[in-house]
Amino acid sequence: MIVLIPLAAVAVKSTENGLDGFWTVVTSPQALAALKLTLAVAVIVALINAVFGTLIAWVLVRDRFRGKGVVNAIIDLPFALPTIVASLTLLALYGPKSPLGVDVAYTRVAVALALLFVTLPFVVRSVQPVLHELDRDMEAAAESLGARPRTSFRRIVLPNLLPAILAGVALAFARAVGEIGSVVLISGNLPFKTEVASVFIIGQIESGSLAGAAAVSTVLLFLALIVLVLINLLAWYGRRHDR
């Protein structure tokens, strides 16, 4: 009840001015630009996470080197670090006074960078245990039959990891769509350029347009709902195949 009633209030408020009012806000150029940017960046971030998250999990499980324990611990850093601090740290290194000469502040690249930072652990932590449990016999068999490492990875490892990768990607996507703290400093929140949906919502609240804020929120809630259903379907599918 703590959870449902407030969210119902958002949905009700969004149609305060009728469906037309809802539609006018959601399709206004600024809201549309914010929603499009949020979706596009979230998709890109989810895809990059799928590749690098799996790679990092692979290195952590299969590779051996000194300091692996430390690397494994660092993965959780984005969960422990307050998001506003993440934003400030990225801005310090990749912002106007960058010692590396890389300045991406107030661009869309910066938005993606911030989201990559906060969503890093999802895929790694979802793939790692599955990879750990994965029986190496199948790979050994494939290799003894003459398969090259790449072939055995593609045909044997990847299909086994796919449900875990997808579950992690879905979580990362959901987080990327709703993220605010890490984006707020480094993106500059320029309307039509780097303003993401959650920043747009805050703007609407601060200018007193609660119905407008609620309308865009409802669109995001709908997206979140789809992702939740997908995750549960994947978990169910995974359990069925375990039997």
Partner: protein
């Protein structure tokens, strides 16, 4: 050679560029101008109040979510009540919903024109723009952690020992304290650590609900942003440094708890 070291190099390089370098650099930036300005920023009344308020939020949200989390996990795993699978899905909602929307929903309910806001306002109770609302927001966003950590442990442990305790005449209360709680304690502890981290750093939901009144409803993460907006970089970096320091401690505790929770699980 490439097949062996290639993935390692790429993975470590990615982590270095994305995580290690930026966070390390903030530590450098904080102390760039020596210790004196850092000390000034640290002892500034606004910053002290922000830290104090942040710790209060943690002190409210963590016990509330620990108690709720353990009860909810018990209901999801042990009871046969109808609606427990619904509860299982509902618990995840704060993870899937943007913190900004959480803040907005609280404003819509407890705000001046909100569903409950008018009634409460008539009795002189204000929630929005006060620490009460901020505590509600913090509880909301950090709700799932304890449940999510305890549910798998409860499933693994099974209910054999609890049944044995009951046959031997233990009351449900005794069974919980003597059998169930010791079995799930590492799961609970790990959940508490994650809840603490989230409650400390929450920005989106709290920023909507708090009204950002300096020295009144400003938590440390909000203080970082406010100082940054005022071009007071040293203060912003110092507050960020404090938060990052706490985050590192949290990370350490997480590592210490992990092997144990895996051993019992």
């Amino acid at each position: 050679m490439i097949a062996r070291y290639g993935p390692r190099a790429i993975a470590l390089g990615y982590l270095a560029v994305l995580l290690v370098l930026p966070v390390g650099f903030v530590f450098y930036r904080t102390f760039e101008n020596g210790l004196a300005p850092v000390w000034d920023a640290l002892t500034n009344p606004e910053a002290v109040h922000a830290l104090y308020l942040t710790l209060i939020m943690v002190a409210i949200a963590v016990p509330a979510n620990t108690i709720f989390g353990v009860i909810a996990a018990l209901v999801i795993v042990r009871s046969k009540a109808r609606g427990r699978s619904v509860l299982n899905v509902l618990v995840d909602i704060p993870f899937a919903v943007s913190p900004v929307i959480v803040g907005l929903s609280l404003v819509l309910i407890y705000g001046r024109t909100g569903w409950l806001g008018e009634t409460l306002g008539d009795q002189g109770i204000r929630v929005i723009f006060t620490p009460v609302g901020m505590a509600l927001a913090t509880i909301f966003v950090s709700l799932p952690f304890v449940v999510r950590e305890v549910v798998p442990v409860l499933r693994e442990v099974g209910d054999d020992q609890e049944r044995a305790a009951e046959t031997l005449g233990a009351s449900p209360w005794q069974t919980f304290w003597r059998v169930t709680l010791p079995a799930i304690r590492w799961g609970v502890a790990y959940g508490v650590v994650l809840t603490t981290a989230r409650a400390l750093g929450e920005y989106g939901a709290v920023s909507v609900v708090s009204g950002k009144l300096v020295g009144e409803t400003e938590t440390l993460p909000l203080h970082v942003e406010q100082r940054f907006a005022q071009f007071d970089l040293t203060s912003a970096y110092t507050s960020a440094f404090v938060l990052a320091g706490i985050a590192l401690i949290v990370l350490l505790i997480m590592q210490m708890l992990k092997p144990k929770s895996e051993a019992t699980g």
